[in-house]
Symmetry: C2
Subunit: 294 residues, 2 copies
């Protein structure tokens, strides 16, 4: 693993801020308004674009970061649901948070990510989030699992973004912010022969060496190309809703990410995602409901 | 199938109200306040208790019914997330709704189910819901699925609630409101030898002949005994969050419901649920994050 550590205190858990120098931390940074507690300003960076909009995982991480500050010391999203309302654009944004319930081991909050009408300045809601946060550094070690990590060739035998079709890369600035290596068994679509199975998987890390933490996992669950590519369905699959469970603090190093779908019906599909860390632990699970490309 | 139809107009889809005479419709009924649009009164019926609280699926159906009225003509929950805050008790409740975004094919809303402090009358929030609704009667028929229905013996060879341990039945009024027949392969726990696989499945219908519709599916995804029983872990598994996707209008008749878990970690487990209708279609999928029994 060539990635350099960004300095993580194992006692307090990761606590990356914009000062970490990482593009992910900068791209998901929020600043609380001094005069309005619970309201956070942000800037959506064009570098996280996918198509005309900003990547849904980055938006979830950004709103998730605001909630992490709002619900501290419950800083880690145990369960977080994002409902995507309108397409986000690069530019200023604001996150308005609500502490729904402050509990002893879990706290629940809501966040509304908004941008501004260019003519009137009026706020337009992009994403509504509901989430329960806790403290994963206090995690018990009682793991009992029948889930098995995905099998895939080592990263150096997988397919980097540099092999993606140029017309796809041109619309996916996001891919330059990720070190993503797709399993060759799942990239038939890039060569004109999708497998039809409905599965895409690969290795993921941040190219600047910023190690994974719970907020970065919110990016990871929506960072791969849509699983519909493996079904030969190209075009956009806008997310309606995505819920992620972060099950453990991820260990440093590569993540393995799998996306699968089983059921396209009524113009919608589900996309199930698993994220496994370098210690072979299932650290995040997510499911999204998305629109089937026409 | 002995269940009598309650009168469903196939053109407009099911539209069951409290007048249907069904215990489910009565138990999940809401009445909008004339002076406060978007605010709905309700009564939590002790017949839907499980342990000291009211069943989480019933609560989701009740809040979901309020949103169905609020977001009409988008009456069907395509995706709905419930975050459970405090345990509900039989008695009066109020659902305060917010229309987050009204769209052409989907509308998003939020609902807050509250009860009242017996001393002060102050509202105490039980459940916060975020959901996107559409119209499933307008569903396209383009189904492309690799999911296969669960195999189980016919209902008459399955295990009814009458065989459940009396100490369990005594705490589960809910079970008398359901016609639930569990696959004998998954009920070793009732005989002292849980399989350890982490799977429970069975047939489900409402005993009064009320046919399934999208709101009833919200009950169905949280109606079976906890999957942890199959792991030999008895006791409560309180739900932190449950998100359900309703993928199609269910056909009349028995539903098949499966619950599975793969990963217990950090004191939490996920429970994945599928609901299949009598036409072998996957009509609902859900996942919940719950607390592992001690």
């Amino acid at each position: 693993m060539a990635a350099a550590s960004v300095g993580q205190d194992p006692d307090s858990g990761p606590d990356f801020g914009p000062e970490s120098g990482s593009e992910f931390d900068r791209g998901s940074a929020v600043r609380e308004r001094a005069a309005e507690p619970g309201v956070y300003d942000a800037e959506l960076d064009p570098g996280w674009r996918i198509g005309a909009g900003v990547n849904g995982g980055l938006l979830l991480a950004l709103a998730g970061r605001a909630l992490s500050q709002r619900l501290a010391p419950h800083r880690d999203p145990f369960s977080i649901s994002g409902y995507y309302l309108t397409a986000s654009r690069p530019g200023p944004a604001v996150v308005r948070t609500e502490a729904v319930r402050i509990g002893r081991t879990l706290s629940t909050g809501s966040a509304s990510l908004r941008q501004f009408d260019p003519r009137t300045g009026e706020e337009i809601e992009r994403l509504r989030v509901l989430a329960s946060y806790g403290d994963l550094t206090a995690a018990q070690e009682d793991v009992r699992t029948s889930a098995v990590p995905p099998e895939m060739p080592p990263p150096e035998q997988c397919i980097g973004a540099e092999h993606a079709p140029p017309e796809f890369m041109a619309q996916a600035d996001l891919l330059q912010r990720l070190d993503l290596r797709l399993d060759p068994a799942c990239v038939g679509w890039a060569l004109g022969s999708p497998s039809g199975v409905g599965r895409i998987q690969g290795w993921l890390r941040l190219p600047d060496g910023r190690e994974p933490d719970p907020l970065m996992l919110l990016l990871a669950v929506d960072a791969l190309p849509p699983v519909t590519f493996d079904l030969g369905l190209f075009g956009w699959t806008p997310t309606i809703e995505l819920t992620a469970h972060v099950r453990a603090l991820p260990a440093p190093g590569w993540l393995r990410v799998t996306h699968a779908t089983r059921n396209l019906a009524n113009g919608f599909l589900e996309e199930d995602c698993e994220v496994w860390d370098s210690k072979d632990r299932l650290v995040a699970q997510s499911r999204q409901l998305a629109i089937v490309p026409r």
